[in-house]
């Protein structure tokens, strides 16, 4: 499953998500909005969200650091 993680540089929950995914061997692509400023607009239009982290995994959207949801969707034990 393709995993995209939208982040920003100073966001503690973004670090928490990335640490969690790395700890569990999940490969993901990070899009840091501080360096990809046009991606913020796209994300806002696509999801209605104005906060990070947002994780897109296949057809699923996960807002914030939601460990239970991450485990369930990414099949992490």
């Amino acid at each position: 499953m393709k995993v995209l993680v939208y982040t920003s540089s100073s966001c503690p929950y973004c670090k928490k998500v990335k640490n969690f995914l790395r700890e569990h061997g999940v490969t993901f692509k990070e899009i840091n909005l501080n360096f990809h400023r046009s991606a913020a607009k796209e994300l806002k239009e696509k999801t209605g969200q104005t906060g990070v982290p947002v994780i897109l995994a296949g057809n699923y959207k996960i807002i914030g650091f939601d460990e239970n949801k991450l485990r369930r969707i990414l099949k992490i034990k």
């Binding site: 920003s8 100073s10 969200q49 990070v52």
Partner: protein, 322 residues
Amino acid sequence: MQFTLKRKSEEASSEGVKSHFEAAIIGAGPAGLTAAIYLGRSKIDAVIFEKMVPGGYIVSTDWIENYPGFPDGISGEELGELFEKQSSKFGVRTENVEVTGVNFKARPMIVETMDGSYTASAIIVATGTKSKKLGVPGEEELIGKGISLCATCDAPFFEGEDIVVVGAGNSGIQESLYLSKFARSIRIIEFLDHPTAERILLDRIKEIGKIELLLSHRVTRFIGDDRLTQVEVEKRDFNQKRVLDVKGAFIYVGLVPNTGFLKGSIDMDKEGFIKTNQELKSSKEGVFAAGDVRITPLRQVATAIGDGALAAFKVRQYLEGR
């Protein structure tokens, strides 16, 4: 995560307890990490619990200029990383897990986490604070949909937009300066008839033409179906309401302590800040509090650092005197 090779002072005696430590620090912000440096250097077998990332509240602060040693200022994120780097040198074990409860009556005391229980002979609570919300209609529903409590996290979503910042204290003004790099216009809404931020910050917002101060106003409602579109404000005393068209709102109206997990086990004030004496002792023997989480007239990195050092020193004395 670092694991200490030092001796365990006592073996965990209770069933189900993962480990025993001489001292446990709850919270790895500036106060907790400083306490870790001092305890580690005293060769006290200690653990520090952190549910998020080390550094605490400052990691989402754009820029810090009033902490000595950095004459050009430093980002909160970088300062947090430096604190962590320094504290990790001295052997205190880090557990990246949320503390969910405590038992300060038991001896040794018990710290319950999402991953199991630990015991400790002394505890420093250094869990800091989080942003206070306004508690007005529309706020909860629109957080993440136009309303934010973290400018450095969410500013890129407001490129070219009109926004408001609520609160004209140091945080509100500092973060407005950061937001001005993204937003088209910023109105800072302050309930008082004067801003409470440092003059140097207020001078800077004057230099940026796009920031306006709206004093003696309070937010009464956030409006929007699935996205924030308007903010209703009321002028103090005159009871005049009006609506501002905005796409974003950032809230900096104060702090609430992260003490919910203590469930009233030590004396706190009405808001949940911990009562301590001058030696940072709480109402329970062997429990100390340091940094923003305790009742204190000033909550800054500089004051948290001092608290962390003093709390660790008093823990050492307490352990030696038992």
